[in-house]
């Protein structure tokens, strides 16, 4: 179907879908995103579900949102503020209206604006009537009743079930409004509800009814076109951080030739890595849902001892429980990949909200000197390569490695140029199979270059040996209380990790105009920093940016880079963790921009912060 109404061209749009937890907003957002991706826009998404439990229908804490930014050019963030809000009920309106840009568009489900819902949302009068939405462009749509009406001929569904299809009505309307292709969603409905054809039928009808409503209703005078973005050639898909991470782990298993063993305990927002890997049994992936995080990491370490790619995934409150195991892995010098999908804390904190405040924990959260390399992903799709890279380091250097993601990367998504599997680098290693000291096997005799020790797995004849958590003598690995040996081993472990700096790329600086000010970031602030820098530059100022993908060790030129700028700004969703490290290591008076709000930075606030520093 194509529209007959006037069409306006736009460069970019930020839409937020918002409704009750039960209203299917995440699904709606996902579908709209898929349509948009297939259409060829660049995009970035930000799902936002408040608490883990479905709160009572209509309540403020029960509101679930999904924001999507799409454009005809490459974009970096899901957008600071929506320009369009779809609000399925009063609570959704109340929670989200404050974020809308001035003059933005609101599409509301008028059917939900009854007294009970208004009251639950804490409205004293109906905002659709009391003038409080003046200044916005409001489209009142009777979404529920029109959906029920549209489905009255579908057999085998109750009117409650019919009403539940209203999100597809909304999706249809929005698809019309922005000229999204319908085929993908229609096919999706078919396959998703294959078991319940009557529901498939209902959703299909609702979807089409929504589209038709846009086309016919006088309330919608124009529709919009956002031309496809100029992306590099290749095959794309949309991918969220957790999916990319899952794929990266499976790829690492393939590229290393090591079977993947995941030990995990469910926790938001890391659970779906476990859930997705559980679907990968045909890749030889073993997923073990352990009794707790300690056992999860222990089992992964046990599997690593046996020659597997041992992985354990969690979020901060679970990672903290793995510390003792990671300490053991440090001294055993076995590969182990620990994934921390960071969320807001401390303690249980705000489980679904992002934060990047576990950096110091993963670096230092173990007794004694216990160095561990740290890799951090910066974008949802980037989780794929970050996972492979973390695995590479773990395997090559026989060391636990932390991989940091966060709730924003985990759930956010973006188009991904699917890599050519054949071009991914081999990360395989060799197990020890022969004695390395005449007839004897010295499990702690190191490779002189990497300082890695041999990995001799059970089942290898003649290399029987014992390892443990007590300090070990150099080379033999026997228990040793010798003071000088302990000092030596402590330094060897540190040197091994520090030496990885030679094996990772230099820190890249984006500095087109020779700026005085460097903005240094890490993790999921990548997009926001990039977008902010664009704005700053567009405003006529100069600024350089660099983004750390390795937090331990730092790329070898990091000191040089930070010292070569007059001013350094480190924006972080914490109180200054990377900043502390940079200051300590390089004695540079780096400033911070720190907000701990459980949500990603907005480009605008970073623009302001950078501008202020540049001008200072």
């Amino acid at each position: 179907m194509s529209s007959t109404k006037p069409v306006e061209q736009l460069e970019r749009v930020v839409i937020r879908f918002a409704g009750d937890s039960g209203d299917g907003m995440q699904l709606t957002g996902d579908r709209f995103t898929s349509e948009t991706a297939v259409f060829g826009n660049d995009l970035a998404t930000l799902p936002d579900f408040p608490a883990e439990i479905r709160a009572p229908a209509g309540s403020l804490p029960g509101v679930s949102g999904f924001q999507l930014h799409f454009a005809d050019h490459d974009i970096l963030t899901p957008g600071d503020q929506p320009s369009v809000l779809v609000a399925m009920n009063p609570a959704a309106l109340k929670v989200n209206i404050g974020d809308l840009v001035k003059g933005g568009t609101v599409i509301v489900n008028t059917d939900a604006f009854n007294d009970r819902n208004l009251q639950k949302a804490g409205y004293e009068s109906n905002p659709l009537e009391d003038g409080s939405l003046e200044g916005f462009h409001v489209h009142p749509v009777a979404l529920s009743s029109m959906t029920v009406e549209a489905l009255k001929e579908v057999e085998g569904i109750t009117s409650r079930e019919a009403e539940r299809s209203k999100n597809f009505f909304a999706l249809g309307l929005m698809s019309w409004l922005y000229h999204r292709p319908m085929e993908g969603t229609l096919a999706f409905i078919e396959s998703k509800f294959a078991q319940r054809p009557e529901i498939a039928e209902a959703n299909t009808r609702a979807f089409k009814a929504g589209w038709n409503y846009g086309e016919t209703s006088e309330d919608f005078a124009v529709s919009y076109e956002i031309a496809p973005a100029q992306l590099a050639p290749g095959t794309y898909r949309q991918v969220s951080g957790n999916t990319a991470l899952t794929y990266g782990l499976v790829a690492a298993s393939r590229l290393s030739g090591l079977p993947l063993f995941l030990g995990a305990y469910p926790i938001t927002p890391a659970s779906d890595v476990l859930e997705q890997l559980a679907q990968m049994k045909h890749f030889g992936v073993r997923t073990f849902q352990a009794e707790d995080e300690i056992a999860a990491s222990g089992a992964a370490l046990g599997a690593a001892f046996g020659g597997a790619l041992g992985v354990t995934t969690s979020a901060g409150p679970g990672v903290v429980l793995k510390s003792e195991t990671v300490g053991l892995a440090v001294t055993l010098e076995l590969p182990l990949l620990i994934v921390d999908v960071q969320r807001a804390g401390p303690s249980t904190g705000m489980p679904t909200k992002p934060e990047q405040a576990d950096l110091l924990m993963v670096l230092f959260g173990r007794n004694s000197e216990s160095p561990v390399p740290v890799v951090a992903a910066s974008t949802p799709a980037g989780c794929f390569h970050a996972a492979i890279e973390a695995a590479r380091i773990a395997i090559k250097y026989r060391t636990p490695v932390f991989l940091l993601s966060d709730a924003y990367l985990a759930n956010g998504s973006e188009p991904w140029l699917i890599p050519d599997v054949g071009e991914l680098a081999d990360i395989s290693t060799e197990f020890a199979t022969e004695p390395n000291d005449g007839d004897a096997f010295l499990p702690y005799r190191r490779d002189p270059e990497t300082l890695a020790r041999p990995w001799a797995i059970p089942g290898t004849p003649g290399l029987e040996h014992r390892i443990g958590g007590l300090e070990k003598a150099d080379e033999t690995g026997n228990v040793s209380y010798d003071p000088e040996n302990h000092d030596l081993m402590t330094r060897l472990r540190a040197a091994k990790v520090a030496g990885i700096a030679a094996d990772i790329p230099e820190l890249e600086v984006d500095d087109p105009d020779g700026a005085d000010t460097l903005v240094l970031g890490w993790g999921s602030t990548y997009g926001a920093i990039g977008a902010a820098a664009r704005r700053v530059r567009a405003g006529g100022r100069t600024v350089a940016t660099a983004h750390l993908r390795y937090l331990n060790p730092f790329p070898r030129n990091t000191g040089e880079v930070v010292r070569s700028y007059e001013k350094v700004l480190i924006p972080e969703m914490n109180l200054g963790q990377l900043r502390m490290l940079i200051r300590a290591q390089f004695l540079v008076d780096a400033a911070g921009y720190n907000k701990v709000r459980g949500r990603p930075f907005r480009a605008a606030e970073l623009e302001d912060a950078i501008t202020a520093l540049v001008d200072s």
Binding site: G234, K281, V285, A299, G302, G306, E324, G327
Partner: protein
């Protein structure tokens, strides 16, 4: 006889299982006896040394792996069952043994123990129970008796102790047994049964800590008349002259009776493989304090699907149904689009 890496048959002996590390337990410690029995038993496994792995936590008992010329890991306190689970599940070709103490297994490690047991992971778990924390020099443990005066309980312990076998049975263990450190024959038999059992095998070994809890088991370690050796399918009798037996009350509890008085036929018949664990549980409640005697041997040995096998089967089935995983196909799954 064991086939070595080249397929040659070799006869291993206890000596082949001794590592070059000096054994560092206190002189007189019951751990020495256990080490000897286990080294003597190992050839019976019929496996070459590289196929065997000992995993332990922390404690005196947990030093065990260092002394075995096999693969081994002396890990962290209480976590050996979890670590061993990862190893056993991902390497079904290995014979994985866990050595643990009463503190290691039942205090800090209690959760991993019960979960390994319920899952029926293919692990042999040997709990050296000396009713004390040996390595940290004499604090009471979860198996220490009420009133026990130790370094951390100067006025006597208040904690009602665990009965390790009851805990294991309550946790759905498929194999449960008990032996004594110095009882070479009994211990060897139990080890053999444990090794033959596919799945988790839990063995409590009464072990004397002559430094911090000397004589804790003298009533059964020294006095053989107090040992009730259990044998599948046989009536339960014991005593110097086999003059005593075990009978069941109508309420499910067990009592010790005089065989002559009660009549042989009234005695309970031991059944290690009953579908219901109730009998094994009732037997675990026979203790020196309550009944004046201690059952030894295999309490329960029930065949049940093994976790590691089940997991391997799912992997096979997944491959059968979906074909060997194809990475490129995975990356291209879902909606894709191509930019010219």
């Amino acid at each position: 006889m064991t086939a070595d890496g080249n397929g040659n048959l070799v006869q291993l002996t206890a000596k082949d299982f001794k590592s070059d590390q000096e054994v560092r337990w206190c002189p007189g410690c019951g751990d020495y006896a256990i080490l000897n029995v286990i080294q003597g038993f190992m050839p019976e496994l019929g496996l070459t040394r590289e196929r065997i792995v000992f995993v332990s936590g922390i404690g005196c008992a947990a030093r065990f792996p260092y002394y075995m010329q096999t693969y081994g890991m002396h890990s962290i306190h209480g976590r050996a069952p979890a670590i061993a689970t990862g190893l056993a599940v991902s390497r079904p070709d290995l014979s994985v043994w866990v050595v643990t103490g009463d503190g290691d297994a039942l205090s800090i490690g209690g959760n991993h123990l019960i979960h390994a047991l319920r899952r029926n992971v293919n692990l042999k778990i040997l709990l050296f129970n000396n009713e004390i924390y040996g390595l940290t020099k004499g604090q009471y443990s979860p198996t220490s008796r009420i009133g026990k005066v130790t370094k951390s309980t100067p006025m006597g312990s208040l904690d009602y102790p665990f009965n390790p076998l009851s805990v294991a049975i309550g946790a759905e263990a498929s194999f449960v047994a008990r032996a004594i450190d110095t009882d070479k024959k009994g211990l060897t038999e139990v080890l053999g049964a444990a090794a033959r059992h596919r799945g988790s095998a839990f063995v409590e070994i009464l072990q004397n800590c002559n430094i911090y809890n000397d004589g804790a088991f003298d009533f059964v370690r020294e006095d053989k008349a107090n040992r009730i050796y259990l044998a599948h399918g046989e009536r339960i009798r014991f005593g110097a002259e086999s003059e005593k037996g075990v009978q069941q009350y109508p309420d499910g509890s067990l009592r010790v009776v005089d065989v002559d008085e009660a009549g042989e036929n009234s005695l309970l018949v031991h059944d290690t493989a009953h579908a219901q664990a109730s009998l094994a549980f009732a037997l675990s409640r026979i203790t020196f304090e309550t009944h004046g005697a201690v059952p030894l041997g295999v309490f329960r040995a029930l065949e049940r699907p093994v976790y590691d096998d089940l997991m391997s089967e799912q992997l096979d089935r997944a491959r059968d149904e979906r074909g060997e995983g194809d990475l490129a196909a995975l990356l291209h799954s879902g909606d894709t689009w191509t930019v010219g």
